[in-house]
Symmetry: C2
Protein backbone atom coordinates (compact mmCIF):
# COMPACT_ATOMS: atom_id res chain seq x y z
CA UNK A 1 0.00 0.00 0.00
CA UNK A 2 1.38 3.36 -1.03
CA UNK A 3 2.47 5.70 1.73
CA UNK A 4 0.66 8.57 0.01
CA UNK A 5 -3.05 7.86 -0.17
CA UNK A 6 -5.16 10.67 -1.52
CA UNK A 7 -8.43 11.06 0.33
CA UNK A 8 -7.48 8.64 3.11
CA UNK A 9 -8.18 11.20 5.80
CA UNK A 10 -11.65 12.02 4.47
CA UNK A 11 -12.47 8.32 4.07
CA UNK A 12 -11.37 7.68 7.66
CA UNK A 13 -13.68 10.44 8.94
CA UNK A 14 -16.68 9.07 7.02
CA UNK A 15 -15.93 5.47 8.08
CA UNK A 16 -15.54 6.46 11.74
CA UNK A 17 -18.75 8.48 11.92
CA UNK A 18 -20.69 5.68 10.19
CA UNK A 19 -19.35 3.08 12.65
CA UNK A 20 -19.98 5.32 15.67
CA UNK A 21 -23.58 5.71 14.52
CA UNK A 22 -24.12 2.05 13.60
CA UNK A 23 -22.60 0.38 16.63
CA UNK A 24 -21.82 3.13 19.13
CA UNK A 25 -18.64 5.03 19.91
CA UNK A 26 -17.34 2.76 22.66
CA UNK A 27 -17.69 -0.42 20.62
CA UNK A 28 -15.77 1.00 17.64
CA UNK A 29 -12.04 0.28 17.34
CA UNK A 30 -9.32 1.97 15.30
CA UNK A 31 -8.82 -1.32 13.42
CA UNK A 32 -12.48 -1.32 12.35
CA UNK A 33 -12.33 2.29 11.20
CA UNK A 34 -9.18 1.62 9.15
CA UNK A 35 -10.72 -1.52 7.61
CA UNK A 36 -13.95 0.27 6.65
CA UNK A 37 -11.92 3.08 5.05
CA UNK A 38 -9.72 0.57 3.21
CA UNK A 39 -6.44 1.70 4.80
CA UNK A 40 -3.97 0.22 7.30
CA UNK A 41 -3.89 1.02 11.02
CA UNK A 42 -0.60 2.83 10.53
CA UNK A 43 -2.24 5.08 7.95
CA UNK A 44 -4.89 5.84 10.56
CA UNK A 45 -2.19 6.84 13.05
CA UNK A 46 -0.48 9.10 10.52
CA UNK A 47 -3.65 11.19 10.50
CA UNK A 48 -5.06 10.84 14.03
CA UNK A 49 -3.80 10.07 17.53
CA UNK A 50 -6.95 8.14 18.50
CA UNK A 51 -10.54 7.53 17.44
CA UNK A 52 -11.82 10.56 19.28
CA UNK A 53 -9.54 12.86 17.30
CA UNK A 54 -11.34 11.79 14.13
CA UNK A 55 -14.29 13.88 15.20
CA UNK A 56 -12.26 17.03 15.55
CA UNK A 57 -10.38 16.49 12.31
CA UNK A 58 -11.63 19.77 10.95
CA UNK A 59 -11.42 21.83 14.13
CA UNK A 60 -7.98 23.30 13.57
CA UNK A 61 -8.75 24.13 9.95
CA UNK A 62 -12.08 25.61 10.95
CA UNK A 63 -10.47 27.80 13.64
CA UNK A 64 -7.90 29.03 11.13
CA UNK A 65 -10.53 29.88 8.52
CA UNK A 66 -12.72 31.73 11.02
CA UNK A 67 -9.72 33.72 12.27
CA UNK A 68 -8.55 34.42 8.72
CA UNK A 69 -11.96 35.75 7.67
CA UNK A 70 -12.06 38.00 10.74
CA UNK A 71 -8.53 39.29 10.13
CA UNK A 72 -9.27 40.08 6.48
CA UNK A 73 -12.53 41.95 7.11
CA UNK A 74 -12.37 45.67 6.20
CA UNK A 75 -10.90 47.90 8.89
CA UNK A 76 -14.26 49.66 9.18
CA UNK A 77 -16.15 46.40 9.94
CA UNK A 78 -17.94 46.20 13.29
CA UNK A 79 -17.16 43.21 15.57
CA UNK A 80 -20.22 41.32 14.29
CA UNK A 81 -19.45 42.20 10.68
CA UNK A 82 -15.97 40.77 11.18
CA UNK A 83 -17.50 37.61 12.70
CA UNK A 84 -19.80 37.40 9.65
CA UNK A 85 -16.72 37.57 7.40
CA UNK A 86 -15.20 34.71 9.43
CA UNK A 87 -18.36 32.62 9.03
CA UNK A 88 -18.38 33.28 5.27
CA UNK A 89 -14.70 32.32 4.92
CA UNK A 90 -15.19 29.05 6.85
CA UNK A 91 -18.45 28.22 5.07
CA UNK A 92 -16.79 28.56 1.67
CA UNK A 93 -14.65 25.50 2.48
CA UNK A 94 -17.52 23.28 3.58
CA UNK A 95 -18.84 21.02 0.81
CA UNK A 96 -21.38 18.23 0.32
CA UNK A 97 -19.39 15.78 2.50
CA UNK A 98 -19.52 18.18 5.47
CA UNK A 99 -23.22 18.64 4.87
CA UNK A 100 -23.93 14.91 4.71
CA UNK A 101 -21.90 14.25 7.88
CA UNK A 102 -23.98 16.67 9.98
CA UNK A 103 -26.89 14.46 11.06
CA UNK A 104 -24.63 11.40 11.51
CA UNK A 105 -22.21 13.35 13.68
CA UNK A 106 -25.10 14.69 15.73
CA UNK A 107 -26.42 11.16 16.36
CA UNK A 108 -22.96 9.87 17.33
CA UNK A 109 -22.35 12.79 19.73
CA UNK A 110 -25.81 12.48 21.31
CA UNK A 111 -25.06 8.85 22.19
CA UNK A 112 -21.70 9.36 23.94
CA UNK A 113 -20.73 11.48 26.94
CA UNK A 114 -17.09 11.31 25.86
CA UNK A 115 -17.96 12.77 22.47
CA UNK A 116 -20.12 15.44 24.10
CA UNK A 117 -17.14 16.51 26.15
CA UNK A 118 -14.87 16.60 23.10
CA UNK A 119 -17.53 18.52 21.20
CA UNK A 120 -17.93 21.04 24.03
CA UNK A 121 -14.18 21.65 24.10
CA UNK A 122 -14.26 22.12 20.33
CA UNK A 123 -16.76 24.97 20.75
CA UNK A 124 -14.51 26.56 23.37
CA UNK A 125 -11.60 26.33 20.91
CA UNK A 126 -13.57 27.96 18.09
CA UNK A 127 -14.71 30.78 20.38
CA UNK A 128 -11.12 31.36 21.53
CA UNK A 129 -9.85 31.50 17.93
CA UNK A 130 -12.47 34.09 16.98
CA UNK A 131 -12.00 36.08 20.17
CA UNK A 132 -8.22 36.31 19.62
CA UNK A 133 -8.71 37.40 16.01
CA UNK A 134 -11.10 40.12 17.17
CA UNK A 135 -8.75 41.33 19.91
CA UNK A 136 -6.00 41.53 17.25
CA UNK A 137 -8.29 43.95 15.35
CA UNK A 138 -8.48 46.15 18.44
CA UNK A 139 -11.87 44.97 19.71
CA UNK A 140 -11.89 45.30 23.54
CA UNK A 141 -12.11 42.08 25.58
CA UNK A 142 -15.72 41.70 26.78
CA UNK A 143 -17.03 42.68 23.33
CA UNK A 144 -14.61 40.29 21.58
CA UNK A 145 -15.62 37.36 23.78
CA UNK A 146 -19.29 38.11 23.33
CA UNK A 147 -19.01 38.47 19.53
CA UNK A 148 -17.06 35.20 19.41
CA UNK A 149 -19.75 33.36 21.41
CA UNK A 150 -22.39 34.69 19.01
CA UNK A 151 -20.22 33.45 16.14
CA UNK A 152 -20.03 29.92 17.59
CA UNK A 153 -23.78 29.81 18.25
CA UNK A 154 -24.48 31.09 14.71
CA UNK A 155 -22.11 28.58 13.13
CA UNK A 156 -23.67 25.65 15.03
CA UNK A 157 -27.25 26.74 14.36
CA UNK A 158 -26.45 27.44 10.72
CA UNK A 159 -24.69 24.10 10.28
CA UNK A 160 -27.64 22.21 11.78
CA UNK A 161 -30.11 24.02 9.53
CA UNK A 162 -27.93 23.46 6.48
CA UNK A 163 -27.48 19.74 7.25
CA UNK A 164 -31.16 19.20 7.84
CA UNK A 165 -32.48 21.35 4.97
CA UNK A 166 -34.02 19.86 1.84
CA UNK A 167 -31.27 18.39 -0.37
CA UNK A 168 -32.71 20.07 -3.48
CA UNK A 169 -32.84 23.46 -1.88
CA UNK A 170 -29.23 24.11 -0.87
CA UNK A 171 -28.72 27.78 -0.12
CA UNK A 172 -25.25 27.02 1.22
CA UNK A 173 -23.86 27.00 4.77
CA UNK A 174 -22.94 30.71 4.63
CA UNK A 175 -26.59 31.64 4.06
CA UNK A 176 -27.76 29.70 7.13
CA UNK A 177 -24.89 30.81 9.38
CA UNK A 178 -25.36 34.49 8.51
CA UNK A 179 -29.13 34.25 9.01
CA UNK A 180 -28.53 32.69 12.45
CA UNK A 181 -26.05 35.46 13.31
CA UNK A 182 -28.62 38.08 12.32
CA UNK A 183 -31.26 36.39 14.53
CA UNK A 184 -28.82 36.51 17.44
CA UNK A 185 -27.94 40.16 16.74
CA UNK A 186 -31.63 41.05 16.84
CA UNK A 187 -32.02 39.04 20.05
CA UNK A 188 -29.35 41.17 21.80
CA UNK A 189 -31.81 44.09 21.76
CA UNK A 190 -34.39 42.03 23.70
CA UNK A 191 -32.13 41.06 26.62
CA UNK A 192 -32.76 43.89 29.05
Amino acid sequence: MARWEPGAKQRLVVAAVDLFTEQGYDATTVAQIAERAGVTRSTFFRHFTDKREVLVAGQETLSQLLAEGIAQAPATASPLEAVAAGLERASSEMGPMNRALGPRLKAAVAASTELQERDALKSVGLAAAMSHALVARGVPDPTAQLAAELGVLAFKRGYTQWSEADRDDDLGLAHHALAALEDLRVATSTLS
Copy 2:
Protein backbone atom coordinates in the same frame (compact mmCIF):
# COMPACT_ATOMS: atom_id res chain seq x y z
CA MET B 1 -16.28 3.60 60.16
CA ALA B 2 -19.78 4.98 60.31
CA ARG B 3 -21.81 4.86 57.12
CA TRP B 4 -22.92 8.43 57.64
CA GLU B 5 -19.90 10.71 57.54
CA PRO B 6 -20.73 14.37 57.70
CA GLY B 7 -18.55 16.45 55.41
CA ALA B 8 -17.04 13.43 53.64
CA LYS B 9 -18.07 14.72 50.22
CA GLN B 10 -16.52 18.15 50.79
CA ARG B 11 -13.34 16.59 52.18
CA LEU B 12 -13.10 14.34 49.11
CA VAL B 13 -13.40 17.35 46.79
CA VAL B 14 -10.66 19.27 48.61
CA ALA B 15 -8.39 16.19 48.75
CA ALA B 16 -8.87 15.45 45.05
CA VAL B 17 -8.18 18.98 43.87
CA ASP B 18 -5.09 19.19 46.08
CA LEU B 19 -3.74 15.90 44.71
CA PHE B 20 -4.53 16.85 41.09
CA THR B 21 -2.57 20.06 41.58
CA GLU B 22 0.33 18.49 43.48
CA GLN B 23 0.95 15.45 41.30
CA GLY B 24 -1.27 15.85 38.23
CA TYR B 25 -4.66 14.46 37.35
CA ASP B 26 -3.48 11.31 35.57
CA ALA B 27 -1.20 10.21 38.42
CA THR B 28 -3.92 10.54 41.06
CA THR B 29 -5.92 7.46 42.07
CA VAL B 30 -9.25 7.09 43.83
CA ALA B 31 -7.43 5.25 46.65
CA GLN B 32 -5.13 8.27 47.19
CA ILE B 33 -8.05 10.70 47.22
CA ALA B 34 -9.93 8.57 49.78
CA GLU B 35 -6.82 8.24 51.95
CA ARG B 36 -6.11 11.98 51.92
CA ALA B 37 -9.73 12.68 52.86
CA GLY B 38 -9.60 10.07 55.62
CA VAL B 39 -12.40 7.90 54.24
CA THR B 40 -12.63 4.46 52.62
CA ARG B 41 -12.76 3.79 48.88
CA SER B 42 -16.35 2.63 49.23
CA THR B 43 -17.25 5.97 50.79
CA PHE B 44 -15.70 7.63 47.74
CA PHE B 45 -17.88 5.53 45.45
CA ARG B 46 -21.02 6.41 47.40
CA HIS B 47 -20.44 10.01 46.37
CA PHE B 48 -18.76 9.81 42.95
CA THR B 49 -18.57 7.37 40.04
CA ASP B 50 -14.91 8.21 39.26
CA LYS B 51 -12.20 10.77 39.97
CA ARG B 52 -13.34 13.05 37.17
CA GLU B 53 -16.81 13.36 38.66
CA VAL B 54 -15.25 14.96 41.75
CA LEU B 55 -14.66 18.08 39.72
CA VAL B 56 -18.28 18.42 38.74
CA ALA B 57 -19.58 17.66 42.21
CA GLY B 58 -21.30 20.98 42.36
CA GLN B 59 -22.55 21.17 38.79
CA GLU B 60 -25.98 19.69 39.36
CA THR B 61 -26.55 21.83 42.44
CA LEU B 62 -25.30 24.89 40.62
CA SER B 63 -27.61 24.25 37.65
CA GLN B 64 -30.55 23.85 40.02
CA LEU B 65 -29.78 27.05 41.90
CA LEU B 66 -29.37 29.09 38.70
CA ALA B 67 -32.66 27.73 37.33
CA GLU B 68 -34.40 28.33 40.66
CA GLY B 69 -33.27 31.95 40.80
CA ILE B 70 -34.45 32.51 37.23
CA ALA B 71 -37.83 30.88 37.92
CA GLN B 72 -38.39 32.96 41.05
CA ALA B 73 -37.51 36.32 39.49
CA PRO B 74 -40.48 38.75 39.30
CA ALA B 75 -42.74 38.23 36.27
CA THR B 76 -41.77 41.70 35.05
CA ALA B 77 -38.03 40.90 35.03
CA SER B 78 -36.25 41.11 31.65
CA PRO B 79 -34.27 38.05 30.47
CA LEU B 80 -31.02 39.51 31.81
CA GLU B 81 -32.65 40.55 35.10
CA ALA B 82 -33.83 36.95 35.49
CA VAL B 83 -30.29 35.71 34.77
CA ALA B 84 -29.01 38.14 37.40
CA ALA B 85 -31.48 36.64 39.90
CA GLY B 86 -30.11 33.19 39.02
CA LEU B 87 -26.54 34.35 39.59
CA GLU B 88 -27.50 35.84 42.95
CA ARG B 89 -29.28 32.66 44.05
CA ALA B 90 -26.30 30.47 43.10
CA SER B 91 -23.76 32.87 44.59
CA SER B 92 -25.55 32.84 47.94
CA GLU B 93 -24.62 29.16 48.33
CA MET B 94 -20.93 29.61 47.57
CA GLY B 95 -18.79 29.99 50.67
CA PRO B 96 -15.11 30.30 51.62
CA MET B 97 -14.35 26.71 50.53
CA ASN B 98 -15.63 27.40 47.02
CA ARG B 99 -13.58 30.57 46.94
CA ALA B 100 -10.39 28.87 48.09
CA LEU B 101 -10.82 26.04 45.57
CA GLY B 102 -10.96 28.43 42.59
CA PRO B 103 -7.25 28.88 41.83
CA ARG B 104 -6.44 25.22 42.60
CA LEU B 105 -9.21 24.00 40.28
CA LYS B 106 -7.97 26.35 37.58
CA ALA B 107 -4.43 24.97 37.86
CA ALA B 108 -5.65 21.35 37.75
CA VAL B 109 -7.87 22.00 34.72
CA ALA B 110 -5.13 23.92 32.87
CA ALA B 111 -2.85 20.87 33.19
CA SER B 112 -5.23 18.22 31.81
CA THR B 113 -7.03 17.96 28.47
CA GLU B 114 -9.46 15.49 29.99
CA LEU B 115 -10.42 17.99 32.67
CA GLN B 116 -10.70 20.77 30.09
CA GLU B 117 -13.22 18.66 28.20
CA ARG B 118 -15.18 17.92 31.37
CA ASP B 119 -15.09 21.60 32.26
CA ALA B 120 -16.30 22.63 28.79
CA LEU B 121 -19.23 20.22 29.03
CA LYS B 122 -20.02 21.65 32.46
CA SER B 123 -20.43 25.11 30.91
CA VAL B 124 -22.73 23.66 28.26
CA GLY B 125 -24.83 22.09 31.04
CA LEU B 126 -25.08 25.34 32.99
CA ALA B 127 -26.10 27.25 29.85
CA ALA B 128 -28.76 24.64 29.06
CA ALA B 129 -30.18 24.83 32.60
CA MET B 130 -30.47 28.61 32.41
CA SER B 131 -31.83 28.57 28.87
CA HIS B 132 -34.57 26.06 29.82
CA ALA B 133 -35.53 28.14 32.85
CA LEU B 134 -35.81 31.24 30.66
CA VAL B 135 -37.89 29.45 28.02
CA ALA B 136 -40.21 28.31 30.84
CA ARG B 137 -40.72 32.02 31.63
CA GLY B 138 -41.81 32.61 28.04
CA VAL B 139 -38.52 34.03 26.73
CA PRO B 140 -38.23 33.13 23.02
CA ASP B 141 -35.45 30.75 21.99
CA PRO B 142 -32.62 32.83 20.49
CA THR B 143 -32.94 35.40 23.30
CA ALA B 144 -33.01 32.65 25.95
CA GLN B 145 -29.88 30.96 24.60
CA LEU B 146 -28.07 34.26 24.32
CA ALA B 147 -29.02 35.37 27.85
CA ALA B 148 -27.92 31.96 29.18
CA GLU B 149 -24.52 32.25 27.45
CA LEU B 150 -24.07 35.69 28.99
CA GLY B 151 -24.97 34.17 32.36
CA VAL B 152 -22.30 31.46 32.04
CA LEU B 153 -19.64 33.96 30.95
CA ALA B 154 -20.59 36.27 33.83
CA PHE B 155 -20.51 33.45 36.38
CA LYS B 156 -17.08 32.25 35.21
CA ARG B 157 -15.60 35.75 35.06
CA GLY B 158 -17.12 36.63 38.42
CA TYR B 159 -15.88 33.42 40.03
CA THR B 160 -12.33 33.99 38.75
CA GLN B 161 -12.33 37.57 40.03
CA TRP B 162 -13.76 36.51 43.39
CA SER B 163 -11.23 33.67 43.79
CA GLU B 164 -8.31 35.89 42.90
CA ALA B 165 -9.39 39.00 44.83
CA ASP B 166 -7.69 40.13 48.01
CA ARG B 167 -8.71 37.86 50.91
CA ASP B 168 -9.41 40.83 53.17
CA ASP B 169 -11.61 42.55 50.65
CA ASP B 170 -14.34 40.00 49.99
CA LEU B 171 -17.29 41.64 48.28
CA GLY B 172 -18.84 38.23 47.68
CA LEU B 173 -19.31 36.19 44.52
CA ALA B 174 -22.66 37.82 43.69
CA HIS B 175 -20.99 41.24 43.48
CA HIS B 176 -18.38 40.02 40.99
CA ALA B 177 -20.81 37.94 38.90
CA LEU B 178 -23.33 40.79 38.61
CA ALA B 179 -20.58 43.27 37.70
CA ALA B 180 -19.39 40.89 34.97
CA LEU B 181 -22.96 40.51 33.69
CA GLU B 182 -23.32 44.29 33.53
CA ASP B 183 -20.02 44.55 31.57
CA LEU B 184 -21.34 42.00 29.10
CA ARG B 185 -24.71 43.77 28.83
CA VAL B 186 -22.92 47.03 28.00
CA ALA B 187 -20.76 45.16 25.46
CA THR B 188 -23.87 44.00 23.56
CA SER B 189 -24.40 47.60 22.42
CA THR B 190 -20.93 47.68 20.84
CA LEU B 191 -21.31 44.60 18.64
CA SER B 192 -22.65 46.08 15.44
